[in-house]
Amino acid sequence: MSEHAEHAHPNYVKVWAILVGLLILSILGPMIGIQWVTLLAAFGIAIVKAYLVAKNFMHVNVEPRFISYLLLTMLALMALFYAGVSPDVMKHEGSRWAKPDWVAAAAAPVAETLGEHGH
């Protein structure tokens, strides 16, 4: 039997209701049409929902601390990957390199044609 039996179970239905409420906010928020509200509704709420699921459904908070460290290490590796690779993707030139013209052309706004081959 799991040692998780030793901790009190939260009110799971209440947690689910909060998650559904946050989901509704994340859908309605972007309809206002303000960019920062959209970003907050989309990603800020996603982080809050992820925290609620990890804490209340996955019970990360009652696991030994090394489990949290393990998961955070993986997130740090993800951040390291992003930091290392994103300049090559997001910049068009550096100190000793420049992307060819066709790459910049592909990144330009697309025409209305659907399914065209552009980046």
């Binding site: 559904v20 393990l70 993986m74 990957f81």
Partner: protein
């Protein structure tokens, strides 16, 4: 005989649960790498908002609701297993599998519609990311449903109830991945 994964506790938690956490850790790198790549390309290519405008927010939102609800039934199954109520845990796992089935069905209709409109995995890089990320996630949903069916069958007979929690941790992680996929693919337009 009690399986070693049920009782061995060198690290302070049963080996089976430790194994699931290792799976989750490796999945963070897999999905993290994919989503990081998507985010950096999305920021670099403003034109992608043109493509993202064609994803169906209501279908994505409904599927998010379905997965959140299936996570609720999974964690209630875990609670039932802790109370040694195998049949109840099995029924709740059955509801979770049903949620996974609804999710996959909605996704199938969604993809069929998009493919008919001409948006395929080879259309451009946005749609390549869209089908790869959502497809990889859907494969995880299907894998979870299969494993959950096996666990539920045992739980119904009162066998290996600790596995209810283990498959639950995996399922919640699949839910977590979708929580981030939803705004990336359906909201940020």
């Amino acid at each position: 005989m009690i399986p070693i994964a049920t009782t061995r506790s060198v690290t302070g938690i049963p080996t089976g649960r430790l194994a699931v956490w290792w799976v989750v850790a490796s999945e963070i790198v897999i999905f993290g790498g994919l989503l990081s790549s998507y985010i950096m390309h999305r920021i670099a290519h403003g034109a992608w908002s043109h493509y993202a405008a064609h994803t169906n927010t209501w279908a994505g939102g409904f599927n998010t609701f379905v997965l959140l609800t299936s996570s609720l039934s999974a964690v209630l199954a875990h609670k039932a297993s802790v109370e040694n109520d195998g049949p109840k845990a099995a029924r709740l796992l059955g509801l979770t599998i049903l949620g996974g089935g609804v999710f996959i069905t909605v996704k199938a209709f969604e993809w069929t519609h998009e493919i008919h409109l001409g948006y395929t995995i080879t259309s451009n890089t946005f749609w390549s990311f869209y089908y790869t990320a959502a497809g990889l996630h859907a494969l995880h949903v299907i894998a979870g449903m299969v494993i959950m069916a096996i666990v539920a069958n045992d739980a119904r007979k009162g066998i290996a109830l600790h596995r209810v929690e283990l498959i639950g941790i995996y399922w919640h992680f699949v839910d977590l991945v979708w929580i981030f996929l939803f705004p990336l693919l359906y909201i940020a337009k």
